[in-house]
C-alpha cells in the first residue's frame, strides 16, 4: 500500500511542477536583472589614475599592465621648483587572467577603478580579452550609482567633522540677522557651498539646489595660476623684518583672501539672480524659516562666506563633486561617476533597471561607435534623464 502511495506521490510532484511557472531564465532574450554591485567588468576612470601602481602590485593574478612616463611641469612662478607628474601611457586588464577578486578596486586610493555589472564581453580570440585603457574607460559609462546609504546609519566621519566646524564658520552676525539658518547658503549660494556646509541640509534634502548647481561648479574652479601678491602686506612684512619667503607667503594668502571675498560675493549674487525656485530652496534649506532665505543669504553671506569659499577650494573630494549628494557624503565615488556623466544634479534616486535612450543610441551608432559602447552611453543617458525627472 505504501508503495502505491509513493507512486501516486511521484505523479503528483511532476504534475504540480508542470502547472507551476518554469525556472528558466531566457538569457539572451531577456537580460538578467543584476544587482548594482555585480562583478561584471572592471572600469577605469582614467582621469583619477595617478599611476601609483598599487592595483598592479596587489593583483593576485598580475593581470594589470601599467606603463607611464614622467613629465616635468614648468614652475608656475619664476624661481620655483619644477614639478613632475606621472602620465598614464597604458593601463590594461587581462580579463582572461582576472579572477574578479576586486582587490584592485579596493586598493585604489584615488577611486579610479570601479565594478560594472556588464558581463557580455566574451571574445573569439583570447587576446581580445585584454582591455586597454580606452576600453576600460568606456566601461565607466556603465558603472551604476552606489546604493543609497542606510538612513539610520552613522553619518560619515567627514560630515561629523564638518558639522563640528560649522559654528566657527558661520559666527558672522549678518547671517543670523538675515534669519536664515546655517543651511541657507548651501541652498541659495551653492557656489560657495561645499559638502561640509551642505551637510546640515543633508539629512532631509535628497538633492541640494538643483537649479544653481551648474553655475556653482563653474565658479568653484579657481585658476590658481592667477594667484597674485598683496603688495601692501608684503611690504609690511618685509619692513617688520620677516624673511622674504615668509613675507611672500603672507602676501599671497592675503591676496587670496581678498579674491575669495570678491568671488563669493559675485557668486552669491549670481546664484540668486539665477531665479532659484522657492520650492527648491525650501526643500534644501529645511532649516531656513522663510522663503526669503535666498535673498537673505545672498545679501548676508557676501562678506562672510569666506570660510565657505575656503572649504570649497579644498582639494578634497568636493572639488570633483561640487554638489555633494547628501545621501552619499561618505561615498565620494558617486560624485565622480556623476562628473563622468556630466550630471551636476546627480542624486541617489533609485531609477530602477536602466533602459536605453534611443536618441543617444542612434546618435552613437551613427557616429560609428560600436554597439556595445553605444548601448552603454544610451543607458547612462537614460539613467541621467530618469534622475532628472525624479529630482
Amino acid at each position: 500500500m505504501a508503495k502505491g502511495l509513493g507512486l501516486a506521490k511521484g505523479l503528483m510532484v511532476t504534475l504540480n511542477t508542470m502547472r507551476k511557472p518554469t525556472a528558466t531564465k531566457h538569457y539572451p532574450d531577456a537580460k538578467p536583472a543584476l544587482p548594482p554591485r555585480t562583478r561584471g567588468v572592471i572600469a577605469l576612470f582614467e582621469e583619477n589614475c595617478t599611476v601609483c601602481m598599487l592595483c598592479a602590485r596587489e593583483c593576485p593574478d598580475w593581470c594589470i599592465y601599467i606603463d607611464s612616463h614622467k613629465e616635468v611641469v614648468p614652475p608656475k612662478t619664476p624661481g620655483a621648483r619644477a614639478r613632475t607628474r606621472n602620465i598614464l601611457d597604458r593601463f590594461a586588464i587581462d580579463f582572461a587572467l582576472c579572477m574578479y577578486c576586486g582587490i584592485c578596486i579596493e586598493v585604489c586610493p584615488f577611486d579610479a577603478l570601479f565594478w560594472s555589472p556588464e558581463f557580455e564581453y566574451s571574445e573569439y580570440d583570447i587576446r581580445e580579452l585584454t582591455h586597454e585603457k580606452e576600453r576600460l574607460r568606456e566601461w565607466m559609462y556603465t558603472v551604476p550609482a552606489p546604493p543609497a546609504l542606510d538612513p539610520d546609519g552613522e553619518p560619515a566621519a567627514e560630515l561629523v567633522a564638518a558639522q563640528k566646524a560649522e559654528p566657527k564658520v558661520y559666527e558672522a552676525p549678518a547671517l543670523q540677522a538675515g534669519g536664515a539658518a546655517v543651511a541657507a547658503p548651501a541652498a541659495a549660494a551653492p557656489a560657495a557651498a561645499p559638502a561640509a556646509v551642505a551637510a546640515p541640509a543633508a539629512a532631509a534634502a535628497p538633492a541640494p539646489a538643483a537649479a544653481p548647481g551648474k553655475p556653482a561648479r563653474e565658479h568653484a574652479e579657481i585658476d590658481k595660476e592667477d594667484v597674485g601678491v598683496d603688495q601692501g602686506v608684503f611690504d609690511a612684512a618685509i619692513s617688520a623684518g620677516l624673511p622674504e619667503r615668509v613675507a611672500r607667503a603672507k602676501a599671497k594668502s592675503a591676496w587670496m583672501k581678498n579674491w575669495k571675498k570678491e568671488n563669493a560675493a559675485t557668486q552669491a549674487a549670481e546664484a540668486t539672480a539665477a531665479a532659484v525656485p522657492p520650492a527648491a530652496v525650501d526643500e534644501s534649506a529645511v532649516q531656513a524659516p522663510a522663503a526669503e532665505a535666498p535673498a537673505a543669504a545672498a545679501a548676508g553671506t557676501a562678506p562672510d562666506t569666506e570660510g565657505a569659499a575656503v572649504v570649497a577650494m579644498d582639494p578634497g573630494p568636493t572639488s570633483v563633486a561640487p554638489t555633494v549628494d547628501p545621501a552619499s557624503q561618505g561615498a565620494d565615488t558617486h560624485g565622480m561617476t556623476g562628473s563622468v556623466v556630466g550630471d551636476a544634479q546627480e542624486s541617489h534616486v533609485d531609477v530602477g533597471e536602466p533602459q536605453i535612450d534611443q536618441e543617444t543610441y542612434d546618435a552613437a551608432i551613427a557616429s560609428g561607435l560600436p554597439d556595445r559602447v553605444a548601448r552603454a552611453k544610451a543607458k547612462s543617458a537614460w539613467v541621467k534623464k530618469a534622475r532628472k525627472g525624479q529630482v
Binding site: 507512486l7 511532476t14 511542477t17 518554469t22 525556472a23 528558466t24 531566457h26
Partner: protein, 332 residues
C-alpha cells in the same frame, strides 16, 4: 467520376496508403513534441523555444533535417545487410497496424475481421527488428540491449495478448471496428484490471521508461541503437513514437470505446479517437518523468507475478460474466 475512381480497388488502396502514411509521419511528431514540452515543464524547464519561432514547435522537423544530413555509418564488423534492414523492420509494423485502426465509425483503411489479431501479430515484428539491430551491430552494448529487449518484449507479449483477448471475448469479435461498436460504458470499471495490464504491457513493449532496460542509456549506451547514426537512428526513434500512437489507438479502441465520446460520437469520432490517443501519450510521458527505471529482475517479477496472474483472473471473470450474466450479452 470521383466515386467510380474510388471504386477502383487500386486507386482506393493508394489513397488509403497515403492517408495512413500521413498519420504515421505527423502524429508521432506531435507526440514527440509533446514529450519535449511536457517533460520540460514537469522538470521546471521550458523545452525547445527557438525552432519555428513559436515555442520551438518545429524542433522535431529541425531534428529530422539534422538526421538526414548525418553520415550513415555501418561498423566494419557489422552484418551489413541485416544492419541496414533492421530499422525498417522495426519501423514498418507500426505503419501496418495503422491500417486497421478505426478512427471514426466509417473511417478505417481496411475493415479486417481479425483486426486485433493482425495488430498484435504485426506489432510484435518490431521485436525482430530490434534483435536484428542488436545482433548485427557487432557491439557488446547492442547485444546486451538486444538480449534484455528480447527477454522483456517476449515476456510482456503474454499479458498484452491476454488482456486484449479479454476484450475481444467480451465484444465477441476480433474486428477492431466491431469491438468499438460493441463497447459499452460499464466496461471501463469492469475491465479496469485488463486495462491496467494492457497499459503496463504496452509501456514495456515500447521500451518506454520505467521499462527502458533494453536501451538504458546510463548502462548500455543506447542498447540496440548504439551503432546507428543519421536517418536509420531516426527511424528507431520514430518507431518509439509511432509505437505510442499505435498503442494509444489500440488502447482507445479496446478499452475506451474508440470513436465514442460523451456526445456526437458519429460526427466527432476522429476528435474523440485522437483525444484518447493523446491522453494515452501524455500518461506515457508523465510516467517517464515520474518514475525511475525498473531493474531486470523487478521487471520480470512484475510481468510474471503480477500482470499475467491478474490478466488470467480477469479473463476468467470476464468469461464467467459473458457466459452466465444475461445483461452482458445484450439479451437482458
Amino acid at each position: 467520376v470521383i466515386e467510380s475512381l474510388l471504386d477502383n480497388w487500386w486507386v482506393a488502396a493508394v489513397l488509403k496508403a497515403v492517408a495512413c502514411l500521413g498519420v504515421f509521419l505527423t502524429v508521432p511528431l506531435i507526440i514527440g513534441q509533446t514529450e519535449h514540452k511536457v517533460m520540460a515543464h514537469m522538470q521546471g524547464r521550458t523545452g525547445p523555444m527557438y525552432a519555428g519561432a513559436f515555442h520551438g514547435w518545429a524542433q522535431l522537423v529541425a531534428d529530422g533535417i539534422k538526421f538526414v544530413q548525418k553520415e550513415d555509418v555501418v561498423p566494419d564488423n557489422a552484418d551489413r545487410g541485416v544492419f541496414k534492414l533492421a530499422p525498417a523492420v522495426s519501423l514498418l509494423p507500426a505503419l501496418f497496424v495503422l491500417v486497421v485502426i478505426p478512427w471514426s465509425p466509417g473511417l478505417v483503411a481496411e475493415k479486417l475481421d481479425i483486426g486485433l489479431f493482425y495488430a498484435l501479430a504485426i506489432s510484435s515484428i518490431t521485436t525482430i527488428g530490434m534483435l536484428m539491430a542488436a545482433w548485427s551491430s557487432a557491439n557488446k552494448f547492442s547485444l546486451l540491449g538486444g538480449i534484455r529487449g528480447a527477454a522483456q518484449l517476449i515476456a510482456y507479449e503474454l499479458p498484452l495478448v491476454l488482456s486484449a483477448a479479454t476484450v475481444a471475448m467480451f465484444a465477441g469479435t476480433l474486428s477492431l471496428t466491431g469491438i468499438a461498436a460493441a463497447w459499452e460504458w460499464w466496461w471501463i470499471p469492469f475491465l479496469a484490471p485488463a486495462m491496467f495490464v494492457f497499459f503496463v504491457a504496452s509501456l514495456a513493449e515500447l521500451n518506454r521508461p520505467p521499462f527502458d532496460m533494453p536501451v538504458a542509456d546510463s548502462e548500455i549506451i543506447f542498447g540496440h541503437m548504439t551503432e546507428y547514426t543519421g536517418l536509420r537512428f531516426a527511424f528507431f526513434l520514430l518507431t518509439e513514437y509511432a509505437g505510442i500512437v499505435v498503442a494509444g489507438a489500440l488502447f482507445a479502441v479496446l478499452f475506451l470505446g474508440g470513436w465514442r465520446g460523451p456526445f456526437l460520437s458519429a460526427e466527432l469520432g476522429i476528435l474523440w479517437t485522437f483525444l484518447k490517443i493523446f491522453a494515452f501519450g501524455f500518461v506515457v510521458i508523465w510516467l517517464r518523468v515520474a518514475y525511475p527505471r525498473l531493474r531486470e529482475d523487478q521487471l520480470q517479477k512484475l510481468c510474471w507475478k503480477v500482470l499475467i496472474p491478474l490478466s488470467l483472473v480477469q479473463i476468467f471473470v470476464a468469461a464467467a460474466v459473458k457466459l452466465y450474466a444475461p445483461w452482458a450479452n445484450g439479451t437482458w
